[in-house]
């Protein structure tokens, strides 16, 4: 499978005007790639994920298109997307494990979910059971209520359901944030396992936790204030980033082995801009130590080395 | 800058308040009856109890709501009745809300044994057969007034409010700002009144409105079966007399339809208002 996002722009309509949550984003994902989508709150990563699969008001599709396997996805048309949703492109939403109906046994909930997608639960039961074995959930879990299950069990259940139809693209939105360290590891590894077994072709892992991405992602896409900052192989992003924001972000993360007395880490002064009326050009301009006059124009997302894209005039000018 | 934002918030609140149809309709109806209760007496020429007109006369320009089987002015009785109804609603509903607040706040804040015992108390009061109790009381007090009825209603209908307030208090109590207040040495009573209650203002207002409406209904029922005040008029008493004195077979509809319609309108409007207020206080439910 291949995913191409071209110039995608999505705004939120509010009483006070349009919030420009996603501005002209262009990138692609290859077959079998696990791409991490990272950034701080308000950077637009959840907007991007929702834009790909459920673009409903107050979100508004302003421009750009999405191509899945060279076919354009009708993302602006909720009805038309029904054909693709859950079958070709699926999502594990944030807090999904808390969204299970507490008064329904999990098996029944799963059956209702499948029926709503016009899939016969009885025919898919064998496959469902195989998947449960795969994630090491006892088959009896179908007869349990959500409250009887631990956080990790619920998360795995949701993962199984979201991928039951073998979607080409899976969007995993903050699926590890509410879990304990040991469960986080299990769930993250399961994600890789799904890709390895070709249950899903490619995955976009959305999180603010860079260390999880280091463990499981092939590439990482960094976003800031609705714009793309940098994309590249995981090693490159973590160990030799080029965008000033990425550099500051990575160096602000405490690591085991780094003590305050020895190395004082620094954060990024200032706050992200409000997207109701964002600044012209590069939105990181005000907090960037390397900003100059050129930054008043939006820097293009340029491939400075194979597979490594940066949106920064400093980096692209020096390469030009 | 902060001032402008505050003003904006208030204006936003009022903007939605004026746009909310349920609130507008509800308040208008209640206000109408309230004004009627307050100043309606100015428009009545006759004393409600006086025998002033022809017997069982239909509405006319002299007697707007006609006369009773005894020749009393129905409109005069109606006005007196609406006033009594509001008094019972305010006193009875108010008392119930107050007791409910007392029990609910203490049970929700303290927890533990205090909570357990207050819950037992609440359950007992909830389960007491109020009807039987009333019969006993009415046998004891041969002369009963509006105040006694209000107090009775207040003392028996608070459990609902107590339960609701307790659960809200429980949830607010677990918020960290209560812990911070405790760590500043604030006394529990002060925490309840300055930190928790103001946060529940909308809830308390709605609870009072519901108790108000509920009290009116209970009073109307009691009056109708003769367990209400022994003197004076209320809408329920009017309906009781109407039925006792054969208004139904005689077809003197002007005697019982206005009071019945008024009760339905007032209580209905109160509930309507409440739904509107709920939408107003809870932005997620707003009609936009």
């Amino acid at each position: 499978m291949s995913l191409r996002v071209e110039d995608l722009t999505v705004y939120y309509q509010t009483l006070r005007g349009d919030v420009r949550a996603l501005e002209s984003t262009t990138f692609s994902i290859a077959d079998g790639e696990i791409m991490g989508l990272a950034g701080e709150s308000g950077c637009g990563k959840t907007t991007l994920a929702n834009g790909l699969i459920l673009l409903v008001p107050p979100m508004r599709h302003v421009g750009g298109r999405v191509l899945l396997d060279d076919r354009e996805l009708p993302i602006a048309d909720v009805e038309a997307m029904n054909r693709f949703r859950f079958k070709e492109i699926s999502v594990i939403p944030q807090y999904a494990m808390n969204a299970m109906n507490p008064t329904r046994k999990v098996g029944r909930m799963a059956a209702e979910l499948l029926r709503s997608r016009r899939i016969d639960p009885k025919r898919t039961l064998p496959e469902l059971e195989k998947r449960l074995d795969l994630v090491e959930l006892n088959r009896s879990v179908l007869k349990m209520y959500p409250i009887e299950m631990s956080g990790g069990m619920k998360q795995r259940m949701v993962m199984v359901l979201s991928t039951l139809m073998d979607p080409s693209l899976l969007l995993a939105d903050e699926i590890t944030s509410a879990l304990d360290v040991s469960t986080q590891k299990a769930v993250a590894k399961m994600l890789v396992d799904f890709r390895d077994r070709e249950i899903v072709k490619s995955i976009i892992v959305i999180t603010h936790d860079m260390s999880i991405l280091y463990q499981i992602a092939d590439s990482i896409l960094i976003m800031y204030a609705g714009q793309l900052a940098e994309k590249g192989p995981t090693e490159t992003i973590i160990h030799s980033p080029r965008h000033p924001y990425t550099k500051l972000l990575i160096t602000s993360l405490p690591k085991v082995g780094v003590k305050h007395d020895a190395t004082r880490l620094t954060g990024i002064p200032g706050k992200p801009p409000l997207l109701l009326d964002p600044p012209e050009g590069c939105r990181f301009r005000e907090r960037c130590p390397a900003a100059f006059e050129r930054c008043r124009d939006v820097p293009p997302f340029v491939e400075i080395e194979p597979g490594h894209f940066v949106a920064c005039w400093r980096e692209t000018e020096s390469n030009a | 800058m902060a001032e402008a934002k505050d003003k904006k918030k208030r204006n936003e609140f009022l903007y939605f308040a004026f746009r909310n149809n349920k609130l507008k309709v509800g308040i208008s109806i209640v206000l109408f009856f309230l004004v009627l209760a307050a100043v309606g007496a100015l428009f009545t020429k006759h004393d409600p109890e006086a025998f002033v007109g022809p017997l069982s006369d239909p509405p006319s320009s002299e007697f707007w709501f006609g006369t009773t089987v005894f020749g009393q002015d129905v409109f005069a009785q109606f006005v007196a009745g609406v006033r009594a109804t509001f008094i019972v609603g305010a006193l009875g509903g108010g008392l119930a809300t107050l007791i409910g607040m007392l029990v609910g706040f203490v049970a929700g804040y303290r927890g533990g044994m205090v909570d357990e015992s207050l819950n037992v108390l609440t359950n007992i009061v909830l389960v007491i057969p109020t009807f039987a109790l009333l019969l006993i009381i009415s046998a004891y007090f041969e002369v009963r007034g509006l105040i006694l009825e209000s107090v009775f209603i207040g003392l028996t209908s608070w459990p609902w409010a107590a339960r609701a307030i307790r659960s809200q208090t429980l949830s607010l109590r677990s918020r960290e700002f209560v812990d911070l207040a405790r760590m500043s040495g604030m006394k529990p009573l002060r925490i309840i009144f300055t930190e928790i209650a103001p946060n529940m203002m909308s809830y308390l207002v709605m609870a009072f409105i519901l108790q108000f409406g509920g009290a009116i209904l209970i009073a109307a029922t009691l009056d109708f079966i003769g367990l209400g005040p022994t003197t004076g008029f209320s809408l329920g008493i009017m309906m009781q007399y109407a039925v006792l004195w054969g208004a139904l077979p005689l077809g003197t509809w002007w005697w019982f339809v206005p009071p019945g319609a008024a009760i339905a309108a007032i209580v209905g409007a109160l509930y309507f208002m409440n739904v509107g207020l709920d939408e107003l206080f809870n932005p997620k439910l707003r009609e936009t």
Binding site: S211, Q215, I250, H260, G267 | A2, R175, G185, P198
Partner: protein, 317 residues
């Protein structure tokens, strides 16, 4: 300065309080002046409960907690207030720590009403200004605002400023940065480190090992209410001894190392933990024996500044 001796917290659950839930069992450790101790554990480990017990928000069921050698459970009225002049806490959710209907400044006002009643306006304003500046906040940007108008990082620092107004000696920081954005986290963490340099002792409660490593001298690893390992942070991280600590180190996602392949059984059963090692069910260590089920291992010092509660290291035969 602050010492926990066999502190326990037992809740009664079930109908008529028949069963017991041991949130904290027999926990002992010390925090000295100007020292940061990390309390590291996952959910259900009892770390927040310990924090609340130290802050006198929850009662203690067994053992005792002393501050400057005074049992804090005995403090009442004026003495309790004096305790709060020395010990304060900051919690995880900055937005839940403020009453949303009041301005954020109100937390300062409350402190003023209860601890500085006679102070003049001008003197108070000066005090507030100095406190805000010492946590890196600009008074003009943060005063006279509602909580929703400030960011999470600002709110947390505001709360630290509040604690500093009282000139405290000990701060309980319960997951104070887990809800903040990555770029603000380090600023608040650095602030704690700076305050430590100026003599403030901190109990840093967290589930994130890398944060604990960054600022604390000592660390206590908690599992299901018990301390399983305690000592100098570097020693614990360098060569973790307890199987649970080793599992934690192996599972935490790192930025410099990929995971080793360790598969752990994840079913936690509800059981009475009054005897035996709390980690018995999940322990895959070959040394595990019936003795581990019967006897709760005590903390034993295996090298200076490093103790472990595991039968492997017990000194008796």
């Amino acid at each position: 300065m602050l010492r926990l001796e066999n502190a326990s917290k037992i809740y009664r659950v079930g109908t008529f309080g028949g069963k017991q839930l041991r949130a904290v069992s027999d926990v002992s450790f010390t925090v000295k002046d100007g020292e940061v101790v990390s309390l590291i554990g996952e959910s259900g480990s009892g770390k927040s409960t310990i924090g609340k017990m130290i802050l006198r928000l929850i009662g203690i069921t067994g053992g005792k907690i002393t501050f400057d050698d005074r049992d804090i459970a005995t403090l009442r009225g004026g003495a309790l207030k004096a305790y709060y002049r020395n010990v304060q806490g900051v919690f995880q959710d900055p937005f839940s720590s403020y009453n949303p209907i009041f301005k954020a400044d109100r937390v300062f006002e409350i402190v003023r009403d209860h601890f500085f009643p006679g102070v003049e306006d001008r003197e108070w304003d000066e005090k507030v200004r100095r406190s805000l500046e010492s946590v890196g906040l600009n008074p003009r940007h943060v005063l006279d605002k509602y909580p929703h108008q400030l960011s999470g990082g600002q709110l947390q620092r505001f709360l630290i400023a509040r604690a500093l107004l009282l000139d405290i000696r000990f701060l309980v920081a319960d997951e104070i940065i887990s809800m903040l954005d990555a770029s603000t986290r380090i600023d608040v963490l650095n602030l704690l480190a700076d305050l430590k340099e100026r003599g403030l002792a901190v109990l840093f409660i967290t589930h994130d090992l890398s944060l604990g490593y960054y600022i604390s001298e000592d660390a206590a690893i908690l599992y299901r209410g018990c301390v399983v390992e305690f000592g100098r942070t570097e020693k614990i991280y360098d060569h973790p001894a307890h199987p649970y600590t080793r599992m934690l180190m192996a599972s935490v996602p790192r930025l410099d190392q990929k995971w080793e392949d360790v598969e752990i059984e994840l079913r936690a059963k509800q059981e009475d933990l009054s005897t035996g090692c709390v980690y018995y069910e999940r322990c895959c260590d070959p040394h595990r024996s019936e003795r581990c089920r019967e006897r709760r291992p005590r903390l034993v010092e295996i090298e200076p500044g490093h103790s472990v509660a595991c039968d492997r290291y017990s000194t008796d035969g």
